[in-house]
Symmetry: C2
Subunit: 210 residues, 2 copies
DNA sequence: TTCTAATTGTGAAATTTACCACAATGAGGT
DNA sequence: ACCTCATTGTGGTAAATTTCACAATTAGAA
């Protein structure tokens, strides 16, 4: 359907989406690639090229209609529908994500959170989600039609847990475990490794003369 | 000192570091670029090139000494010393980071956490850190020699808070706020935007045939 | 000592990504 | 209807990054 999309493009589209949402709240009707570029420290030409992979959304002389472009990016990113998400592991990160507004507002519905710990099972997070038993995971995934799993378990069991959820039919993983996991290629894994950002920062601070 | 380093290299070094640490715990003495590559799904040549920017750490025919390479990467990344960190904002993310083992183990000492909310100030997180008043922030930063700030405040105040902490002398920021922040170029900002990863995953799931 | 097998370090090629420059287009004014 | 100004969409080029390919080196065996 489309020509090949450079990998960094999807991530930037999500950034554009954020700004467009904000701008539409502020009542802006149109936005130009140069004003977007100024807000995001990106070259206008990059923004135009990114968008042009998916079609011509702009109008010459005027720029882009904020609402229309927002809707178009929603479609491209696949967040025009809602995704059912299960959080696996109710440690600090798992619990923090359990009702993270940024996710809920943008197309992701947290349908549950599971853990192994007897102590945690049954506890309620923010009067809204109750931690369930990992043993119920297959049932939860199948009945609630979970499509995305958020992996927040200890490193040493991560691959095992991943293998299970794949068997139960999950097709996408956001992986917070600091480990490279193996999965069939029809299962998409997106790694989030917070501690890498700290180390990258440290590197830049130490080597800032470069 | 060094030739120009491609931007993705620092992040990969942090990944290599993680594996080396694990391998050294398992008692491995040496490791080759190809075995590292297999573990991380990277081409061995990439690993060798990445390392070669900083010197020749390996021995032909044998590979790399695990401990030595680990120590070398620690130096390169600047985590051979400890960094003093202040968490700004005691919302979900801030509290989750407050004693995140991944950070504490790898060179970052959380020296405090501050918030504006009367309700939160004074509360203790994991019997270990007490949430302090943002009003005390200047004093905290100067007295505890804070070098890195972790920004976990609401979007609308982020730039203002950032401006303050920069005045108080902070030189590095890990920014969890979904917004591009402006700072003088001697202040390093590393963005962590969890919701982008979810959207990138959604994109890949929707466009997986590509 | 000499041979063999393993593995690095690195210039050069290939690939990927970003950027530029400009023709094409649309809106608004005269 | 025509001119002017702003801005897009895009082919081509430049820059950045990855990958290849191979000489150089080391360890160990014969």
């Amino acid at each position: 359907m489309f020509e090949k999309i450079p990998k960094p493009v999807a991530r930037r589209l999500a950034i554009y989406y954020r700004v467009l949402k904000e701008q539409s709240k502020n009542g802006a009707e149109t936005i130009s690639s140069s004003s977007l570029g100024r807000m995001l420290d990106l070259k206008p030409s990059q923004i135009r090229k990114d968008l042009s992979y998916f079609g011509g959304f702009g109008k010459r002389g005027t720029g882009y209609n904020v609402i229309d472009l927002m809707k178009s990016i929603e479609k491209i990113l696949g967040i025009d529908k809602r995704w059912n998400v299960l959080i696996i592991g109710a440690g600090k990160i798992g619990r923090a994500l359990a009702n993270y507004p940024g996710l809920i507002q943008d197309g992701f519905t947290i349908k549950g959170i599971v853990d192994v710990s007897e102590k945690k099972i049954g506890k309620t997070i923010d009067e809204h989600l109750t931690i369930e038993d990992v043993a119920e995971m297959e049932k939860i995934i199948r009945e609630r039609k979970i499509e995305i799993g958020v992996l927040c378990v200890p490193s040493d069991v991560a691959q095992k847990v991943l293998n299970s959820v794949i068997q139960y039919g999950i097709k996408g993983i956001v992986n917070f475990v600091p480990k490279r996991l193996k999965a069939p290629k029809d299962v998409m894994i997106e790694d989030v490794q917070i501690s890498l950002s700290f180390k990258a920062l440290s590197f830049r601070m130490v080597n800032s003369e470069r």
